[in-house]
Subunit: 205 residues, 2 copies
Amino acid sequence: MADQIASNVHWHEGDITSEHRAKLLGHRGATLWFTGLSGSGKSTVAVELEGVLSELGVLSYRLDGDNVRLGINKNLGFTAEDRTENIRRVGEVAKLFVDTGVVALSSFISPYAADRDQVRVLHEEAGMDFIEIFVDCSLDVAETRDPKGLYKKARAGEIKNFTGIDDPYEAPSRAEIHLHSDQQSLTEEVDIIMAVLRERGIIKA
Amino acid sequence: MADQIASNVHWHEGDITSEHRAKLLGHRGATLWFTGLSGSGKSTVAVELEGVLSELGVLSYRLDGDNVRLGINKNLGFTAEDRTENIRRVGEVAKLFVDTGVVALSSFISPYAADRDQVRVLHEEAGMDFIEIFVDCSLDVAETRDPKGLYKKARAGEIKNFTGIDDPYEAPSRAEIHLHSDQQSLTEEVDIIMAVLRERGIIKA
């Protein structure tokens, strides 16, 4: 990214801000908050979007169960209280990424509207973009997909507090983007999101 | 960073990895873990380093009390147990930054060796660079500086569990970098760190 190799570069212009970082990266940070049932296709869209952004030189990072539930939130379970704290922490981490200039792709069921709204407020109070993406899909379709075999286990009672089975999913009422993963192609879904990122000026038009 | 404006770019090469992101950024991620007494100069060095890195086009981000204690760790206090959880969470956040390709500058007193070592192990297990930077400074000098007036309050008993007063500071025994902020200039300190970043190939030589 830079070829300067002087060993005695100094800095006298005060703290580096998110504006400096956005200039360095060529784009702003933003949180894209994917929410939807297990099996709705949140991660599938996020992975595809991540690839498309990378091709365009946009730095993004996916926050999901694999790197959060096993890391910063490994001391949390799936009770309502722990789910709330899980989402709160993810929201705070996402804010740090936005401040860094990264497009954070958060992919969690995040079934409770109040928890998602709390993350939205945290972002909006800081003047940060929070784009809620409802990956909508009927329970029937999600349960038929059952990519991880979790619905089967939940139906058998082997998993408790499973969203859609014995725990509620509160659909967003004001999501910025409403995808229908049982009707749209992956390409269509990604194009819709990319259009919003361009409209908002997060990435170059 | 990129001028491609096609709206239908697609991605078919699997998940984006930290290698993809390092290529996009032109440098690797790493955690620089500043530890030392309150007033030892951790943040001063981190701020200066951040500026120098930015001038070189290197994306870094400071994790400190201002953005962590008021955010992700706002539900933690200063008991030994809470300090441990504070450092654990910061370590996990730093790992996410390293995975993103960012040079994470963590600036916390982090007084307990076991807590710092836990973060080190987390990084080393993941094959990530963890560079412990001991910002060494005598208690006398730190207390004389007292930039936030905290020592005065601790001596007056208005703050409990204050490191160096009524809570221990366990100095690192194997820090990668040992700075002496009461003897070295800021420029010298930053040059030492930059040399290590170059030697390790984290940033271009």
